[in-house]
């Protein structure tokens, strides 16, 4: 349904997307994960035809995004980042404008349907400028749903919402996703776990991991992480910790704090304690936990070589 092949985007000398390749199948909900500035919005803008790629190809339903942009625009719905809306319009005016621009046959029936789907009936005559952020997001979603497109692109649809509003929007997306292909970007892992069939993690314009949510979680299962607080020379402590058995990575995010990831299940806490005694370092704290998907995301998206 969506084929992205070696997609690259450069702004001047800066490479924002670097040879991204992925496919999205019909009916799939794909989560596009990455930290701010990873290239999620640029990817969305290219997939929706707002920006042209510097190189590589994008095809949607076998239509090329550059050659048949207008055909593709009729088949997709898009909720841009920050959900820009015409503030001076009322909700029904805005939806009617989008429906007419999409050249939909029965405007009234179509608008009624999306108003029903997005639970907007009570706000239909309200000026958009007076809506809460949650309702604004629903209006944006309703506009994207007009014309019953098969594919929806949602760029950070829950960004800036309070937890209740975010939960409502997620519920709405889950319902919509029963019948449609959805690509949605986020930097919230819980959202991906709650909604998506599959996720792609990008960082600095490159795909650093992809797979079903279960696959990504299973990659992390069985791994153990230790958080240690040790007072001593950072270089010396890091070097010593790296030499312990089964230690995969050692990072020092804060002063005296070390995060040690292990490849196996071996308990190295005793060895760390003995190391501190041996080098006369002061052990301030030691805690062992299982590695979560969030830890993997953080590791993948903070490593300079990711």
């Amino acid at each position: 349904m969506i084929n992205v092949n070696s997609l690259t985007k450069k702004f001047g000398n800066t490479t924002v997307l670097d040879h991204l390749s992925f496919q999205v199948k019909q009916g799939e909900i794909l989560g596009f994960l990455g930290p701010n500035g990873a290239g999620k919005t640029t990817t969305m803008r290219i997939l929706t035809g707002i920006l042209a790629p510097s190189s590589g190809t994008v095809s949607i339903n076998q239509h090329d995004i550059l050659d048949q942009s207008l055909v593709i625009r009729k088949q997709i719905g898009y909720l841009p980042e920050n959900n820009p809306l015409y503030e001076t319009m009322r909700v029904y005016e805005y939806l009617e404008f989008v429906a007419k621009s999409k050249q939909l046959p029965d405007i009234t029936a179509t608008v009624k349907q999306v108003v029903h789907d997005c639970h907007l009936f009570e706000k239909i005559t309200s000026p958009i400028s007076e809506l809460s952020k949650g309702y604004r997001q629903r209006v944006g979603l309703a506009a994207a749903l007009l014309g019953n497109p098969n594919i929806l692109f949602l760029d950070e649809p829950t960004s800036g919402l309070d937890p209740n509003q975010a939960a409502e929007i997620r519920k709405l997306i889950r319902n919509i996703g029963k019948t449609k292909t959805i690509v949605f970007s986020t930097h919230i892992l819980a959202e991906v776990q709650a909604i998506c069939d599959r996720a792609i993690i990008i960082n600095q314009g490159k795909i650093v991991a992809q797979g079903t949510v279960n696959e990504l979680i299973s990659q992390t299962q069985g791994k153990v992480q230790i958080q240690a607080e040790i007072e001593g020379s950072v270089d010396a402590v890091t070097k010593a910790l790296q030499q312990l058995p089964d230690v995969q990575t050692v990072s020092a995010p804060k002063i005296h704090q070390y995060i040690i990831e292990l490849s196996g299940k071996q308990d190295v806490r005793k060895a760390i304690f003995e190391l501190c005694v041996q080098h006369h370092w002061i052990l301030l704290g030691l805690r062992q936990s299982d590695v979560s998907l969030e830890d993997v995301f953080r590791q993948l998206t903070t490593s300079p070589h990711a």
């Binding site: 702004f11 803008r45 929706t48 035809g49 707002i50 920006l51 042209a52 207008l70 625009r73 009729k74 997709i76 898009y78 841009p80 920050n82 820009p84 809306l85 015409y86 503030e87 001076t88 319009m89 404008f97 989008v98 007419k100 621009s101 999409k102 050249q103 506009a143």
Partner: protein
């Protein structure tokens, strides 16, 4: 066509929902009518000449205020993303915005029609120059709109769009003043040909010359083309 009309209607309605549009209409009609009637009663002439002499200068200040928001507001609010993902071509978007603004200028000009009608009742009004002047005024307004619309696509700041449009429009107007455009030199002839003022003055005489109409249509066409080019270039940024 339906999508084009949808964008055209949205833009036109936004003019009538905007305070700046009503300021435009009130300033235009009140000041010009006051100056016009003052001249009519002082000079005792049933002519619209003084009214139309002032129009290029009024448009210089007022038309950029209409065009400044056409794209810069979309750029600033991010609604340009909504527009560019609708199944409407760039050419249709540019034309819809331009024609809505041109329609608004036509409405404003039509609002001044009671002046010549009243004048024709109290005296012997020559309708030829009046019709030519109205056509010239509308084309002049459209020319400034096309220029302003393109410039507003280059910025997110409406004030910048306003000032640059007014400045460039002023240069085009200035080229036609007698101090620059009179004489037989190549430069004077070039200024005479390029100025928006000289072609307006020519139409205001009541002779609708093809040359003047083509000048304005070319002026409009060039800046609308630049507007489409700017949108396309943004796509390939």
């Amino acid at each position: 066509m339906l999508s084009f009309l949808s964008v055209y209607k949205k833009e036109l309605v936004s003019y009538f929902n905007s305070l700046i549009s009503y300021i435009f209409i009130i300033v235009f009609l009140v000041i010009l009518s006051w100056l016009f009637w003052q001249n009519v009663f002082l000079a005792g002439q049933t002519s619209m000449r003084d009214f139309f002499t002032l129009i290029p200068w009024f448009f210089l200040i007022l038309v950029p205020a209409l065009s400044m928001r056409l794209w810069s507001e979309e750029n600033k609010q991010g609604t340009i993303e909504t527009l560019l993902t609708l199944p409407v071509s760039d050419v249709h978007l540019v034309l819809a915005k331009f024609l809505s603004a041109a329609s608004f200028v036509a409405v404003v000009l039509l609002c001044s029609l009671p002046l010549p009608i009243t004048l024709s009742r109290i005296g012997n009004l020559d309708w030829g120059p009046v019709i030519g002047s109205y056509l010239g005024a509308w084309l002049l307004g459209c020319a400034y709109l096309a220029l302003g619309q393109w410039l507003s696509a280059l910025t997110k700041n409406q004030i910048v769009a306003y000032l640059v449009t007014a400045a460039i429009a002023f240069v085009f107007l200035l080229l036609g003043t007698s101090a620059i455009a009179s004489g037989d030199g190549v430069f004077a002839k070039l200024c005479y040909t390029l100025s928006t003022q000289t072609h307006f003055a020519s139409l205001a005489k009541g002779i609708i010359s093809v040359r003047d109409v083509i000048y304005y249509l070319s002026f409009i066409g060039i800046f609308l083309y630049l507007n489409v080019y700017t949108l396309t270039k943004r796509h390939f940024a």
